[in-house]
């Protein structure tokens, strides 16, 4: 297997790990969203690498990247909408204070 593909996949894995750490460890909603963005970025790298090194003749791979970018934008829009609503209601977006969501 080619070192290019391996390098790209390991970068993707690294981004996934960093993003997972961020999403789990941060207490602020906005910082958690940054973690999720990093996880999605890892997915992007993998998709581009798969397209380039495994199936460069099929453009469905590139289209998948566009869809993931859309998901990133949607995540931002909805996340900030929730953050603003939460901030209006409670005056903070700290997740430690969101105990009432517990079942």
């Amino acid at each position: 297997m080619s070192p290019d593909l391996l390098t790209a996949l390991i970068v993707g894995a690294g981004l996934f790990g960093i993003g997972l750490y961020g999403a789990l460890s941060q207490t602020n909603l906005v910082m958690i969203m940054m973690g999720v963005e990093l996880i999605l970025a890892g997915a992007l790298v993998n998709l581009v690498a798969f397209w380039r090194f495994l199936h460069p003749e099929s453009y469905a791979g590139q289209m998948f990247v566009l869809i993931v970018m859309t998901v990133m934008a949607v995540e931002m829009a909805v996340g900030f909408g929730v953050a603003i609503a939460r901030f209006r209601a409670r005056g903070s977006v700290e997740m430690e204070e969101a105990r009432e969501l517990k079942g």
Binding site: N28, V30, A77, G81
Partner: protein, 175 residues
């Protein structure tokens, strides 16, 4: 036959830059630095796409993330209790668990990447102009319905986010 080429070098270079900036995101306490570190991480990824000869996707990534992360910056400064990072507040919890999860996750995924049988790898990618044409025909052909769905989803998300974020109107009581 493992061949280290200039392409490998650049992929690795930008990849390391992306990882480094990704780490910086959670290590700095200034929110502006954090947001811009995420921006540069994503830009490095865009450069990595360019190194992987996906020119359209690379430029698109570089363009979209500049705006997206700058908007993220203002939200972080608005919603963090200590945006300048001068108050030395600790904004993390369950640190040990998170580090363990992150490391194990990354190692597991890299393990899969290492030991999976990927089959033969392609050596040449289509030219940039051909890629744009191919992607266009893909979007307006076989994958049209998927792409339309994505478009409608983003529109719904925009409307929903605006609706959620709008303040509750105080209706005047009519006597």
């Amino acid at each position: 036959m493992a061949v280290i080429t200039l392409q490998t070098f650049f992929i690795a270079l930008f990849g390391i830059a992306a990882l480094w900036f990704g780490v910086v995101v959670f290590r700095t306490s200034s929110m502006m630095r954090s947001a811009l570190a995420l921006l540069f991480s994503q830009t490095a990824l865009g450069a990595m796409f360019l190194a992987m000869q996906a020119e359209f996707l690379g430029v698109l990534q570089i363009m979209m993330m500049a705006t997206e992360m700058s908007i993220m910056a203002i939200f972080m400064v608005m919603f963090m209790m200590d945006p300048g990072g001068l108050g030395e507040m600790d904004m993390t919890h369950q640190k040990r668990l998170s580090i363990a999860a992150g490391v194990i996750g990354a190692l597991a995924v890299s393990g899969v990447a290492l030991f999976a049988h990927w089959g033969p790898t392609a050596t040449v990618a289509p030219a940039a102009a051909e890629q744009i044409r191919g992607l266009g025909t893909e979007l307006l052909g076989r994958s049209m319905i998927i792409f339309e769905t994505a478009g409608v989803t983003i529109l719904t998300a925009m409307i929903a986010a605006t609706a959620v974020a709008m303040p509750v109107l105080q209706r005047k009581k009519t006597s």
